[in-house]
């Protein structure tokens, strides 16, 4: 049993049409309790008007990311004991995205940038052809595999101060996706990828501050992926071909 029977939880309320304000709740403490459970308890028992978002509950969908004590996290996979500051937790909507209401952020800018970074496969084959044999251990494939498990939760985007200062910046997740595709032997248009990440707000806007890698709940490394893109674009500039 936990030592304390209540947690003091401060939740950021409000949205575009109402002023932002913190609101504090006393929430019963349990042994097995995630930050999502705490937020859910408030909505289900104390204040039915609280808005938040979640779906899978197990760290697969990336719907429930929020700022928890100043750090962007998947709330469904964050045990309360890991973030407790004394007896308190502060929860807010993800940073760097417009707030829809309370803890729910509008993720559209994040996905618009995913698309803008050419974050979609450019086919070399059709459904009528066999699947290409691909050696799983080549360096190229390893580089592609390194970032492939991103669940687009936007934690890195929210952690990044370059995004905060530069609204055009595509952000770590989109650029990591571009790097993954650039290393995918099946992708037909690698030049289009390099073009997409070389424009305004592209990979060259990154200052390698590494918050993306430091806070990625999946332990991925967008920082290195973005460095890879910088390297590839520089190489192309000097006439080097991949």
């Amino acid at each position: 049993m936990p030592e304390r029977d209540h947690l003091t939880v401060t939740v950021q309320r409000g949205g575009p049409n109402e002023p932002l304000r913190p609101q504090t709740f006393e929430v019963p403490a349990y042994e097995n309790q995630t930050v999502l459970d705490v937020v859910s308890w408030i909505q289900q028992n104390a204040d039915p008007t609280l808005t938040y978002r979640f779906a899978c509950r197990v760290g697969m969908c990336g719907s429930c990311a929020m700022m928890v004590n100043g750090v962007p996290r998947w709330t469904c996979r964050t045990h309360v004991s890991k973030v407790l500051d004394g007896n308190a937790i502060e929860v807010g909507p993800l940073r760097n995205l417009p707030v829809i209401k309370d803890l729910a952020a509008d993720m559209d800018p994040f996905f618009d940038k995913w698309v803008a970074a050419e974050g979609q496969h450019h086919p070399t084959r059709t459904r009528d052809e066999d699947i290409a044999p691909i050696d799983p251990v080549t360096d190229e494939r390893q580089a592609a595999n390194a970032g492939i498990e991103c669940i687009n939760c936007s934690v890195c985007y929210s952690a990044c101060d370059t995004v905060a200062g530069n609204p055009d910046y595509l952000g770590p997740a989109a650029l990591q996706r571009a790097w993954t595709l650039y290393n995918d032997a099946k992708d037909a248009d690698r030049n289009a990828i390099l073009d997409a990440v070389s424009g305004k707000g592209g990979c060259h806007s990154c200052h390698s501050m590494g918050s993306c890698t430091a806070y990625c709940p999946n332990e991925l490394d967008p920082l290195s992926a973005i460095a890879g893109l910088k390297r590839a674009t520089a190489k192309r500039f000097f006439g080097g071909r991949k």
């Binding site: 349990y30 097995n32 309790q33 995630t34 459970d37 859910s40 308890w41 909505q43 289900q44 028992n45 039915p48 008007t49 808005t51 938040y52 978002r53 979640f54 779906a55 899978c56 509950r57 197990v58 760290g59 697969m60 969908c61 719907s63 469904c76 996979r77 045990h79 004991s81 829809i100 209401k101 309370d102 729910a104 996905f111 995913w114 698309v115 974050g119 979609q120 496969h121 086919p123 070399t124 084959r125 059709t126 459904r127 009528d128 052809e129 066999d130 699947i131 044999p133 691909i134 050696d135 799983p136 251990v137 595999n145 492939i148 498990e149 669940i151 595709l181 995918d184 099946k186 992708d187």
Partner: protein, 587 residues
Amino acid sequence: MFSTKDIDWHDTDILILGTGGAGMFAALHAMQSAPEGTKVTIAVKGLIGKCGCTRMVQGGYNVALGGGDSVERHFMDTIEGGKWLPNQDMAWRLCEQAVVRIRELENEIGCFFDRNPDGTLHQKAFAGQTADRTVHKGDLTGIEIINRLMEQVLSRPVEKLQEHRAIGLIPTRDGASLAGVLMIDMRTGRFRFVRAKTVLMATGGGPTMYKYHTPSGDKSMDGLAMALRVGLPLRDMEMVQFHPTGLLAGDHTRMTGTVLEEGLRGAGGQLVNHAGQRFMFDYDAKGERATRDVVSRGIYAEMRKNNNPEQEGVFISMSHLGPDMVREKFKGMVKRCADCGFDLAGGKVEVVPTAHYFMGGVVVDVDTRTAMEGLYVAGEDAGGAHGSNRLGGNGVANSTVYGGIAGDVMGADIRKMGALREPDESVLEAELVRACHPLTRKPELVLPLRKQLQDAMWDEVGVMRTEAGLKRGLGRIAEISDALMDVGVASESLAFNLTWHDWLNLRSLCDISEVITQAALARENSRGAHFREDFPDPGAMEESYFTVARQVDGAVEVGREDVQFTIVRPGETVLPEGEPETLVAAQ
């Protein structure tokens, strides 16, 4: 409170409800097959690709790609796994088209599935399969499939209605065709009626009316509840698949019910009861490696024997395999447990059977068409392909295959359709009134009723069923259902009002819970996921029937229809003579 004048009207050509594997494939195929200039709209209760269950697929994708395996073998496994209840034409099309769909996923959508050292696709065998057939990406196959599909959809000119919840299928005045779908724009709380020439319902099933359940939190059977209200026939509604090992962490946490993967048992994980003893060999010669339904019943029986409220479940123990080995082989699972405060590698974790997948659904043909013109259904909302039991790896194959088919068929059918249809205003109004009902009552907590329903379903309509229990269940569901109508929701602001949606979710769950229970009463034998303690025998395969439920004048009626053995009869096979029974090496 609201009148139909408050509804925003919105027109499109093809409307797709849901962004799982079925919805997104439908959108992509509709873009390819429909005439130029066709407007395609995709609406979803959460965010595109984020809500729903395709993303949560761990195991993989069943597809026969040669090497001894064949579409015939995949088909036979599906029929035998479904205990001869599947619609054979649907099952055949599933197995046949999975081959095309997996190539599409790899070649056009850009998925990357795990490879063998020689570069070919790696395939493994799940329980109930007679060949190494399941294509996968580690144990996060769903994430790879959905992320790649999502990118393709986002980069195309598809209209996106996110956080739009469908609340009613609105037919034309004669009731023969669908005019459109009434929705709530959850972000603003406004009603929106979307007219379309064709509508695909791919909202996913998701039996979350059970105390322990695996599906995503947004799942609440809305699609099937809408189909029920509009009078469509629903088949196999008693067939709820339980996964044997859901995490048990108390009823105050959303972690409870989430799946601990099948592979743990396959790798030698042991199940021990409250007394610290292994028990699965008391129930099946394969022990922990028996199929999902058998292990679920074994665990359930042990739980009943124990009957200790302090320690409800049983334990899965991996530590005898060496904690380091477990940590390495099941990295994701160990981390997930650790994040939630459990030590899977070195300790033991309390587990319980958990409602996982819904085999039942709307009666459709092999082209996803329903009895109502303009309405198509694919994925977990559609019944028939799996019969009484779904094989691991057939779920995502089903949603992607039939989603794609639905897109093709809608794109073709729309050429024959003229103008948008006019809705039956009285149904539109009735649906509006229904959705607004809680806003006219005194606000109360919704959660306690949801917990009551989940307890009732678990106790009376769960892993093992009896006539007496099912009848008790009907009574309990009716009480909860009535009580819900007296629970109100504060109506000051309807913008992103989750509690209103909790109410609507529970409304759908109550309606479908009743159908599940009625269908379970109607099936007086035990097949696949459905187990009647008072009728433990499966009955003659030759005389297999499936249940069909529909709502007539506000009451649920369940009938039986004979299974048509259109391709193969029980006791026969479509495999060539001399084919070995299984190609999987014994473990």
